[in-house]
Symmetry: C2
Subunit: 179 residues, 2 copies
């Protein structure tokens, strides 16, 4: 999958799933990320000291989270319709990520509801699952997202939503899974 | 504060707070992180296009999370006693982080309890708050951490906990706040 398909709030419905991505985790990148942001021995060294909690090199969980974001941006985050996220819940690291692992994302729409206070947007909750090349779950989280709604013509002929107009036809939200 | 003070499970108690760090967010680093992991226009450009959700350059939330981890590792994560974290809850982005912001962390111990199943460790929940140079909250999360317990001599004279021995005297957990 390379196309961004669901874009506006109205494109999302509970139960939709999308699977995408193939991100190769290199030893070099694992060590570079950890050197900058999570310099614990088992994120920096092939053979961490014996007292370390892991005895092999594994990726920082925040690195796995960052790669997951990259896969979301490349494959599904709609630049014209997504608004800043308030955050996420239940971020969990299930299995270590190691050099040469290849990561993909499986996204499931939990629910989608219009904002009670802002008519130009809706709230979509995703379950985001990061999988390795064996299909094993390595990370998961519940993401809270605000999406713009499509601009509708009002009876007076003016549009709401700040003047933004959706310029493209709507494509079907279902996207073939690669995994 | 530059010393790592609380190290083992026994050093933690509900209500303790620690404040540390002074991480300068540069425009260059904000753009480099986003180029790799979160290439949305408002994380890449000083002047994002008008349709973008933000009209100025702000750091990726995952970048702020990674910097927060760096401050935790530099100031409080005890290499000899921390075990892999199962994850975190209630990750929230409260305010944008912008170039030249300086970030610090305020950590509050929510609770600390022995593991019911593994006698060598305990579970400590932290509230982690990331603050900017004005003391404004930019990010928060609840972190779940496993810490090793100090090795105790048993009546038979053998030690439990896999042979790891705490080699250093215990220092007082209270650490002066810098903020």
């Amino acid at each position: 999958m390379t196309e961004v398909t669901p874009r506006f709030f109205e494109d999302y419905a509970a139960g939709q799933t999308f699977t995408f991505g193939d991100y190769a985790m290199s030893e070099r990148e694992i060590i570079a990320f950890a050197t900058a942001y999570d310099p614990q021995p088992f994120h920096l060294q092939r053979q961490p000291p014996l007292h370390a909690a892991h005895h092999e090199l594994i990726a920082s969980g925040w690195h796995t989270a960052a790669v997951t974001m990259r896969l979301l941006v490349d494959h599904i985050v709609p630049e014209e319709a997504i608004l800043p996220s308030p955050g996420c819940d239940e971020l969990r690291f299930h299995r270590p990520v190691k050099p040469e692992d290849r990561l993909a994302v499986r996204l499931t729409v939990i629910d989608a509801r219009p904002s009670q206070t802002k008519p130009d947007r809706g709230i979509v909750r995703w379950k985001v699952e990061t999988l390795n090349q064996r299909g094993e779950l390595v990370m998961s989280l519940i993401s809270i997202n605000f999406f713009r709604r499509r601009v509708r013509e009002t009876p007076s002929g003016s549009s709401r939503g700040g003047g933004f107009v959706d310029p493209l036809p709507v494509s079907r939200p279902g996207v073939p899974s690669k995994m």
